[in-house]
Amino acid sequence: ADLVVGFSQIGSESGWRAAETTLTKQQAQERGIDLKFADAQQKQENQIKALRSFIAQGVNAILLAPVVATGWDEVLQEAKDAEIPVILLDRTVDASDDLYMTAVTSDLVHEGNVAGKWLADTVAGKPCNIVELQGTTGSSPAIDRKKGFEQALSGHDNLKIVRSQTGDFTRTKGKEVMESFLKAEDGGKNICALYAHNDDMAVGAIQAIKEAGLKPGTDILVVSIDAVPDIFQAMAAGEANATVELTPNMAGPAFDALAAFQKDGTMPPKWIQTESKLYTQADDPMKIYEAKKGLGY
């Protein structure tokens, strides 16, 4: 292969991320790119190490999915000095934008906003107590998706977040926390909707709701983010109501931008925003499930 690209991935902490990795590898293979993959196991220091190694190896370009927004200036500067273009995937960084070529990301705040809007529209003025399952405390999706959701709720006095706890983005914790929400809110009779920062927690919570003798999707509305295959199954069964897609194919646009740049030096825009598409039960969930199933989620 003539093009060597280094890809520093955060880790493999969720099905979504595994799918992103799979898709990135697929896209690289299709384009005949030699992809150097480095898994950072959730640690920024490992990502910085990986970037430095890529620079030392002299790769042609670097894809970076940053675990956290801050702390990249120095190593990005090094890459720039070595004239290696860097493309950010799925999250942005807190650094001057001349340090990277472009960022292919979704807008995390916007995602939360879409979810919140949907809920506000759906309950349409009726009073509604919401419980929130946050992502890992301190992680940027947790912070931003909370922010976006709250923005969407402001001005709707009928909507109230009554409980909010972290479910660590996992099904197990989602289920456990939901169980205690149900206990704390009068067996769930007090809860009208659940907002989960990702689908996995929602899937866990749906089980908890069912085990408590309530009907998820009807008694308690369920909205979450990511659009992983399993949530479509739940939607098909009427147990989840809506999800906001975060596409795992960030690499495709990134490689396109890179190819254009390599060909004639076209600089891509600084931000290539992916769509945050809302899916509801009306969107033939089973079909989408089938389409998404094979992607390594």
Partner: protein
Amino acid sequence: MTAILKGYALRLLPQIIALAAILLMVSFVFPGFFRLEIQNGRLYGSLIDILNRGAPVVLLAIGMTVVIATKGIDLSVGAVMAICGAVAASSITSGHSLAMTLVITLGTGILCGLWNGVLVALLDIQPIIATLVLMVAGRGIAQLVTEGAILTFNDPGLIFLGSGSFAWLPLPVIIWLVFGILVALIVRKTALGMLIEAIGINRQASTLSGVLTPVLLIAAYMLSGLCAAIAGTIAAADIKGADANNAGLWLELDAILAVVIGGTSLLGGRFSIAASVLGAIIIQSINTGILLSGFPPEFNLIIKAAIIVFILVLQSPPVRNAFTFVALLRTSRKPTERQAR
């Protein structure tokens, strides 16, 4: 007989008091805490949640107790949970029967324990490091099985293990109760308990006395692997899927903590499985209590740390001695008189 029972109660007293205090505290921040009702043919309430959610840590703590009694430690249990959950899910989805799946899964756990045990007992590698190898690699192995995704399944039999109920209790609770009693009986009704303690206190002297040290050491790690396998199966069955990335993550620390709260020394020797089980339930009560309390999640860790420190300080030798001293003062006359004889 009553004397033995009394000794037993005395041994568990600090844990029981700590548990009672925590439950009481939680009931202050959440008044409905002690409410129990029957719903869908099983008991339903926060207390049951504690027993149910505590299942993985209780199970891990049972195996961990025995390992720690041998002066070892098993950091790999969380990863082994993930491996076994993954194996169970992939076995059931590839069409094996439930029985076969359980055999394969528990076998995998025991195999993991065997690996740890061999490193510790035969290659003489320090337990923390020996089990660190599997802790690091194990999650990778689990992901290898699930290929990084959450491997979901629909087999009602397997799901029953995680969220079914029997005799009004959730099945995980029944499983850990039965398993815990079984292990405790095996260990105490045979000579195993004493031999394990002997190894933990003085391995050289035990070997010289003819105790089969390597075999018992390996067996201890195998038991721990088996416990992790059961815990992993329950955790997977609970969410109807194997999450190789997150199943059992950091649970090894909770299990170790449970054993220590249970009063078993990390330096090996004397152990009590019942006390460790209580320790695990104490930890789960703290976790559930925090969730019920409605504090913002930023405070979770600090609250947990503070309560644990408090319990452990109360249990520390100087503080305990101070208490027994006070107790002794009250009944001081008799023992000294017996002395004088």
